[in-house]
């Protein structure tokens, strides 16, 4: 047994209102630079829908993830190492910018420059790639809220797996949101397909990162990831991906997307898993068994044997402690309501989802039934085949019984808790019908409905004695790096050259530039951007809003407030 810790996330889809706050704040923090205009490390898709990039789930076409060979061995779907090096000069399958969307801005200047005329002047869209006028035909969430359905929705690869007659009715009956980030897979195919070995999984917390200094722009990882969550920065020529906000989680605060989530539906915690059995689990022959296989490598952090093995592996006591209190461990293993997204890609994803029950309840209520009566819900879950099959394709490789089981638990929770809330005696038979006890249901309800900040996010900070090993070191002078302070500019070969800038320094330049800039988009230097990385959720982030009057203090170059300078304090929040 080789114990490793893995940071993971669970999202409760019932609560997602599709507001895209997570996407926008993530973009502000990480991808508001030129070169990654089209990139959304976090995106929210309406399902059914094509997703972003379009139809990325069609692995016959995009060839992402792993597949099981006839010999039972796991190999990349894109082909052997040799084959991929022979085709490296032009990747056979790689999404083009049109599969994401061509990024644009508006020619706002005409609004103020235009001569006096009869009609109001219009700000025309201009491509951020060519700077030419363009027609907007697609974007990261063009089919938001079933926009363009049913024509656009028909191209949804998940929908196409379900039979034709069902497809017709689908969009009238069912819709939900699916927020997606990188899965920080336990068996990441992006890392496996990187010829330079630049993508690595951190030993300490399992976060998957691209080493910007070792990436050589072979762009194989873009094809390799089945979730299409590695993106190519077309200006620097390097791959970039979701970082799980490592500078934040290293000091114990949640990722930006979680911090800002309006529905408070994201849970972050760590799990312990047995690294020796990953390959075996990922090679499980039957797709539908992959869920259980992945569950089986997750270790019980309360088991003394596991604790000892973890300590032997150098995992510190407070990390083990966090693993024991981990909300994601509870949701995955104790309550068994969280499911992995597309386990059949065999990458062992670590962002899991609680499938949505609300649409079932809504459908019930529309037909005049009591949507929260246990009997009615159970019946509806059995009879509403369409959404169940769809959810099963997403979260269980098509195994509907798994999804039905989870939805029944969620339904039972509603019914059971309603009795309690209305002051009626608890009906224990509801709990036993889904194999739980009343106490379990109440615990689950607490975690899903009222858990506070420090219950939703159990993130062990890095140890003080490991402080120097943090990627961003806060006791050294942040300006003291190669090429000295205040460089902010580019290396000798234009904007893509030179060393990478520490986030703190970038923040400093961004803030000062932001206050003096005339342009809104495509900032001429990479330094001009709002950065939410140091924001702890209190007040407004620096630079996001124009300054009010003269309160210079807030915009002082030291960033004011408490940045990463005060690590590991996670104040409980409402």
């Amino acid at each position: 047994m080789r114990v490793m810790a893995q940071m993971g996330m669970v999202m409760n889809l019932d609560k997602c209102i599709g507001c895209h706050t997570c996407s926008v704040t993530c973009k502000q923090a990480w991808t508001n630079r030129s070169g990654v205009e089209y990139v959304w490390f976090n995106n929210v898709e309406t399902r059914p829908g094509q997703g972003y990039p379009r139809t990325y789930e069609d692995q016959e076409k995009w060839r992402g993830g792993w597949q099981l060979g006839r010999n039972g061995r796991l190999s990349l779907r894109t082909g052997s190492r040799l084959k991929r090096l022979l085709t490296i000069f032009s990747s056979p399958v790689q999404p083009s910018i049109n599969d994401y969307y061509e990024p644009w801005t508006y020619d706002y200047e005409t609004l103020t420059n235009a001569p006096v005329q009869e009609h109001t002047p219009v700000a025309r869209p201009r491509s951020l790639l060519t700077n030419k006028p363009m027609n907007i035909k697609w974007s990261a969430n063009w089919d938001d809220n079933l926009g363009g359905a049913p024509e656009l929705t028909q191209a949804d690869p998940v929908l196409q797996k379900i039979s034709a007659e069902i497809k017709e009715k689908f969009e009238q009956t069912y819709m939900f949101y699916l927020p997606r980030i990188c899965e920080h897979c336990i068996n990441p195919s992006c890392a496996a397909s990187c010829p330079s070995g630049a993508i690595y999984k951190r030993e300490e917390d399992g976060i998957v990162l691209v080493d910007q200094d070792r990436c050589r722009g072979w762009r194989q990882c873009v094809t390799g990831c089945p979730y299409k969550k590695v993106y190519f920065n077309h200006r620097t020529g390097k791959a970039e991906k979701c970082t799980f906000c490592f500078p934040r989680v290293e000091v114990g605060i949640p990722t930006v997307c979680s911090e800002t989530c309006v529905g408070r539906l994201r849970y972050i915690g760590i799990i312990l898993y047995d690294a020796d059995r990953v390959l075996e689990a990922a090679s499980t022959p039957n797709d539908q068994d992959l869920y259980m296989a992945q569950r089986s490598i997750i270790l019980d952090p309360h088991d003394p044997e596991v604790v000892r093995a973890a300590e032997r592996a150098g995992i510190s006591r407070d990390w083990i402690d966090s693993a024991q209190r981990s909300p994601i461990y509870s949701l995955i293993t104790k309550f068994e309501v969280a499911l992995p997204l597309h386990p059949e890609y065999r990458t062992m994803p670590m962002v899991w989802y609680i499938p949505p029950l609300s649409p079932v309840v809504d459908a019930l209520t529309e037909t005049g039934h009591d949507g929260e009566d246990a009997g009615n819900i159970f019946g509806a879950i059995e009879s509403l085949r369409i959404p169940i099959e769809y959810l099963a394709e997403l979260f269980a490789a098509g195994d509907t019984s798994l999804v039905t089981g989870v939805l029944k638990k969620l339904g039972a929770m509603r019914a059971y808790m309603r009795d309690l809330n209305l002051g009626r005696p608890a009906d224990e038979s509801i709990a036993t019908a889904v194999g739980m006890t009343g106490q379990d249901i109440q615990d689950m309800h607490r975690l899903l409905a009222i858990a506070k900040y420090d219950e939703r996010y159990v993130i062990p900070a890095i140890h003080a004695e490991q402080g120097p090993e943090r990627e961003e070191f806060d006791t050294g002078c942040s300006l003291d790096y190669e090429d000295g302070p205040g460089m902010g500019g580019w290396g000798p070969f234009g904007e893509t050259s030179g060393g990478s800038t520490p986030i703190a320094v970038e923040n400093f330049h961004m803030l000062s530039a932001r206050q003096t800039t005339d342009t809104l988009s495509a900032p001429p230097t990479k330094a001009q951007r709002v950065n939410l990385l140091n924001w702890d959720g209190k007040g407004a982030p620096e630079g996001l809003f124009p300054s009010r009057g003269n309160d210079d203090a807030r915009h002082g170059p030291d960033g004011g407030g408490d940045g990463p300078g005060s690590p590991s304090v996670t104040e409980p929040k409402p």
């Binding site: 190492r81 040799l82 090096l85 085709t87 000069f89 032009s90 990747s91 056979p92 790689q94 083009s96 910018i97 790639l129 060519t130 700077n131 990441p188 890392a191 496996a192 990187c194 010829p195 330079s196 070995g197 690595y200 999984k201 951190r202 030993e203 300490e204 910007q212 200094d213 070792r214 990436c215 050589r216 722009g217 762009r219 190519f232 077309h234 200006r235 020529g237 390097k238 510190s316 140890h463 490991q466 120097p468 090993e469 943090r470 990627e471 961003e472 070191f473 050294g476 790096y481 190669e482 290396g491 000798p492 070969f493 234009g494 893509t496 050259s497 030179g498 060393g499 990478s500 520490p502």
Partner: protein, 246 residues
């Protein structure tokens, strides 16, 4: 042999090679972040699908050809019984095919660069100069091969260019050999020397990252958080005490 010959065939080659070597060392040390293919496949792949493999496989064969033609002395091939005519038939045959593949590939790539909007916008001045020198070198080189096929070249490069090339590396340069090689070879050699001099400062550095290590490494790379202290290299005197980490 006059002063110009010495400048062109002794001084310039050494300067160029020195820039090539030191330049790469310097670039790698100071600009790892800029060391990339800067792939443009995101913008366009229909033309790239043909142009890039044609060009790359072509130029890799051309490279092998150069290693053989310049590196292996004539006496060696003759010693294994390969006749002069047989060698040339082979070299010119393979060379011409690879060379034309390269040229056609490069043509497609250049056409693509100019006509595809986003690709053109992403082309820097540095790229343009590199393409100019690269294209020149390939054109001069290929014209030598063509003249060789036609048979009126007159000079056997294996008696002139190759020994001169090797003499550079023996540190016993023999400029008179190159001076006698004829203008075709001279122009090709000069533009190649220019190409080597600019090489470390262009996107061509990606050639030295050809990912051969991929065959031997495990699929998944695990790495600990950065070993160095923060963003900068550990200053002297601040190294941590050894012993158990974590």
């Amino acid at each position: 042999m006059n002063a110009l010959d010495i400048v062109l065939w002794v001084i310039v080659p050494y300067i160029s090679l020195a820039i090539f070597v030191v330049g790469h060392y310097w670039r790698y040390k100071y600009d790892k972040f800029g060391w990339t293919t800067r792939s443009s496949q995101l913008y366009e792949s229909r033309l790239l699908r043909w142009g890039s493999p044609l060009f790359h496989f072509g130029i890799l064969f051309v490279l092998i050809g150069h290693v053989m033609g310049l590196g292996i002395p004539k006496s060696w091939t003759e010693a294994v019984g390969l006749s002069e005519t047989a060698y040339h038939a082979m070299a010119i045959g393979v060379g011409a095919i690879a060379g034309f593949g390269t040229l056609v590939g490069l043509g497609i790539l250049l056409y693509r660069r100019r006509t595809t909007g986003p690709v053109f916008s992403a082309t820097t001045k540095n790229d343009k100069f590199m393409y100019l020198v690269l294209t020149m070198t390939i054109l001069f080189g290929l014209s030598n091969t063509v003249l060789g096929v036609v048979g009126h070249g007159g000079v056997d490069y294996r008696d002139t260019v190759s020994p001169w090339f090797r003499s550079i590396f023996y540190f016993n340069p023999q400029p008179e050999l190159m001076a006698a090689a004829g203008p075709g070879f001279q122009l090709h050699a000069l533009s190649a020397l220019l190409l080597f001099a600019i090489w470390p400062f262009t996107r061509l550095v990606h050639v030295f990252s050809a990912p051969l290590g991929y065959f031997t490494r495990p699929y998944i790379v695990y790495r600990s958080r950065d070993r160095q202290l923060g963003n900068r290299a550990t200053p002297r005197g601040w190294d941590r005490v050894g012993g158990p980490r974590r």
